[in-house]
């Protein structure tokens, strides 16, 4: 072991990433990362570098990869414009608690602060949107910076970390050795479970007649899906999901009552309003979930379990805040819980599901079998894929229809930009997800607007033979904004109509199998073709231009004021 030859910072970076289990990097080269790329050239047997077509594509792909696999997503870009192009994805990952390590090049440290070519103050820019960031200016700092980056990104409430590496540090030589980080004295990611609080929670749940579990993404992040189901079954408590929690509970679970919030299901929202005890696990009472907080869950006491203490009592004042990892808390609560038959309470779900089916679902399909609703597309896809596909969405009506009508048997199967609502997220995130779980079917569902924000990534799909299935729901509108304009702004469609290109020919130009469907009667066969395709497949579906997503809780309104039609 003695007298190991010195190695360069760039090589040390790659060895550090490998030591942390990185097998895939999404990136884009440039002047200030050329030394790293020079070493990547010799690492292709151990690291699969995916060259995207834009840095935003790289960071969203890393997010998709992380969300599908549970591993840390890694991206690598140059300084200046490379780094600024990451900003949207970093902010998105921060709000959606996605573990990322983003490596940005930086000008040599002798030039810092001089407005050197392609210098941007990446640390300051990413400070408020990252969980942690750090600038490396010497090669010897690289192993410990990467070790801390991975530890911080994936522990506690996960999030994005930015490591900015000046060019001189990439080329300096030093004695490399790697030690993973397992402890930082100022950072306590895993809270100790307070069993007295658990006892109180158990008593409250045992006493409740109308309890409701709210399931957030924290359940997935804590790998607590099976503990959640065991607990819910042991207690006989129904479960509702936030947008970010979707797929943690299989849709066909008898205790699952649907999705919460603005475009959630009637049953889940109505049960929130009628419940006498809310047990929220790994979610943050976002305004999209609560609507008007003053009239939120008016009859309920609230137990809130979250690994991030800053979320407790932040948006909603709760009766019993529990600072804990979801898996720890669910397991401990199961011990004292007693089963109660709550079939009368569950009947509220059935009754609301029936109403929703009659008022919203049934009228969606054109009885003439001609026009296509987004509902038809998503529900047909769910049927064809039998609930086994990973669904990655863009943002807008396409996203909400996907959330409402997709079906899932497995966790980590619904990937969407929840907190930031980033149009353009879908295609690159789906690409990253497919690379992360290559044996699973991955389908990207996008609007005609959002697809055009990052459609250059078709090039990445072509070059890397990524077998991604893509559906563009073309309504020729920025549909979700148009819906608000229709409902709340006197139908003044101000700059929301799109004149679109011939999408299938764009896919064709990239050598991707493609098809367009305009009539409902052709839909099922086309989706079957998409599912059967051995490689990438692009399907444009021309859907009703002026369809709306219902039910809807208007922004700022109470969950009790849900509207079901125009």
């Amino acid at each position: 072991m003695a007298n190991k030859p010195k190695i360069k910072g760039a090589e040390a970076l790659l060895l550090s990433l490998i030591a942390e289990g990185t097998d895939t990097i999404f990136g884009y080269p440039g002047g200030q990362v050329i030394p790293i790329y020079d070493h990547l050239y010799h690492f292709t047997d151990r690291i699969n570098h995916i060259l995207t077509r834009h840095e935003q594509g790289a960071v969203h792909a890393a997010q998709g990869y992380a969300r599908a696999t549970g591993k840390v997503g890694v991206c690598l870009v140059t300084s200046g414009p490379g780094a600024t192009n990451l900003v949207t994805g970093i902010a998105d990952a921060m709000l959606d608690s996605t573990p990322l390590v983003c490596i940005t090049g930086q000008v040599p440290c002798s030039l810092l602060g001089t407005d050197a070519f392609q210098e941007a103050d990446t640390i300051s820019m990413t400070m408020p949107i990252s969980k942690w960031n750090y600038q490396v200016t010497q090669a010897s700092e690289i192993p410990s910076a990467i070790a801390r980056a991975f530890y911080i990104a994936r522990s506690g409430r996960p999030g994005p970390v930015v490591i900015d590496i000046s060019k001189n540090a990439q080329v300096e030589e030093f004695d490399f050795s790697y030690k993973p980080c397992i402890y930082l004295r100022s950072y306590k990611p895993h809270p100790e479970l307070d069993l007295t609080l658990i006892d109180q929670a158990v008593q409250m749940i045992n006493a409740a007649d109308k309890p409701l579990l709210l399931v957030g993404q924290g359940v997935k992040l804590a790998n607590a899906e099976s503990k959640l189901l065991e607990f819910a079954e042991a207690a006989g408590v129904p479960m509702a999901s936030t947008l970010m929690g979707i797929s943690a509970v299989p849709n066909n679970h008898p205790l699952f009552v649907g999705n919460l919030g603005m475009h959630g299901n009637l049953a889940a929202n109505e049960m929130t309003q009628r419940s006498d005890l809310i047990i929220a696990v790994g979610m943050r009472f976002s305004d999209r979930v609560t609507g008007d907080v003053k009239n939120y869950a008016p009859n309920a006491k609230i137990i809130h379990i979250d690994v991030d203490a800053a979320e407790l009592n932040k948006n909603i004042k709760v009766d019993l805040p529990i600072h804990a990892d979801a898996a720890d808390a669910l397991e401990a609560m199961k011990r004292g819980i007693s089963y109660k038959d709550r079939s009368k309470w569950m009947a509220v779900a059935a009754e609301n599901n029936k109403k929703e089916y009659e008022d919203v679902v049934l009228p969606s399909t054109d009885p003439q079998g001609e026009y296509i609703s987004m509902y038809d597309v998503i529900s047909t896809l769910a049927e064809v894929e039998k609930g086994n596909a990973v669904i990655v969405t863009d943002v807008g009506q396409n996203q909400m229809f996907s959330a409402r009508y997709s079906k899932f048997n497995q966790t980590r199967s619904f990937i969407t930009s929840g907190g930031l609502g980033t149009m353009g997220f879908g295609l690159p995130a789906a690409m990253g997800a497919k690379l992360g779980v290559p044996d699973r079917e991955v389908v990207a569902i996008m609007g005609d607007g959002g697809f055009q924000m990052t459609m250059q990534e078709l090039g990445t799909i072509m070059q890397n033979h990524i077998g991604l299935k893509m559906i563009v729901l073309n309504n020729t509108y920025l549909g979700m904004v148009r819906q608000w304009q229709q409902l709340f702004f006197g139908k003044r469609y101000s700059f929301t109509q799109l004149e679109n290109p011939d999408f299938p020919s764009i896919a064709a130009a990239y050598g991707i199998a493609n098809r367009r469907v305009e009539r409902l009667s052709d839909l099922k066969a086309a989706i079957q073709e998409l599912a059967d395709a051995p490689g990438a497949y692009f399907l444009e579906v021309d859907v009703l231009p002026e369809e709306n997503v219902f039910p809807m809780v208007p922004a700022g309104a109470s969950l009790s004021d849900t509207i079901c039609k125009e």
Binding site: I123, S124, M127, P128, K131, W132, N133, Y134, Q135, I152, L184, R185, S186, Y187, D308, A309, A310, L312, N313, K314
Partner: protein
């Protein structure tokens, strides 16, 4: 109710921590009235004293977010009556006070201040005290039209109970 809250944070003495802390105030559009950063009694650990006007509800949420900063070891907030707070102020005063009988004496004795420099054009007086005491002397000198310049520090604070006890376990 909006009032002054003093946040005391102990952090790793590392670059960028100040920015992360102030960014959380900025995000909620809370103006920082005074800020002092220095090494605590433990080597390598910085102590921040930040005062700002806001409500208890907001400061409580803000403090929880401050705790989430990776380098932050401990944060608490206080209202000013919970802390022993002293500031130091320097007053540059016109030298004509020397000619007015009893004036120098008044400053030194009744205000518990001391003269640290004296020359033909001005006198510099130093005073430590609560912010209120410091402000009162300032007003007094202003009404007498002798105050030329004035500067004061941020708060130097100690809690009546020890704040650093838990830190010693690190």
């Amino acid at each position: 109710m909006v009032k002054e809250y003093i946040v005391i944070a102990f952090t790793e003495n590392q670059i960028g921590v100040l920015n992360r802390i102030t960014a959380l105030y900025l995000r909620r559009k809370i103006n920082i009235e005074s800020l002092k950063v220095s090494e605590s009694s433990i080597k390598g650990i910085s102590m921040f004293v930040i005062s700002a006007f806001t409500t208890q509800e907001i400061i409580e949420k803000l403090v929880r977010q401050l705790r989430n900063i990776v380098e932050v070891i401990q944060v608490e907030y206080y209202s000013d009556d919970e802390l022993i707070t002293q500031e130091i102020a320097l007053y540059k005063i016109s030298s004509k006070i020397v000619r007015e009988s009893g004036m120098v004496d008044m400053i030194i004795r009744s205000w518990n201040a001391r003269i640290i420099e004296m020359n033909p054009s001005f006198v510099v007086v130093e005073k430590t005290g609560t912010r209120e005491e410091i402000e009162n002397l300032r007003t007094e000198l202003e009404t007498r039209k002798v105050l030329l310049e004035f500067t004061r520090s941020g708060s130097v604070v100690l809690h009546r109970e020890s704040m650093e006890n838990t830190l010693n376990q690190l």
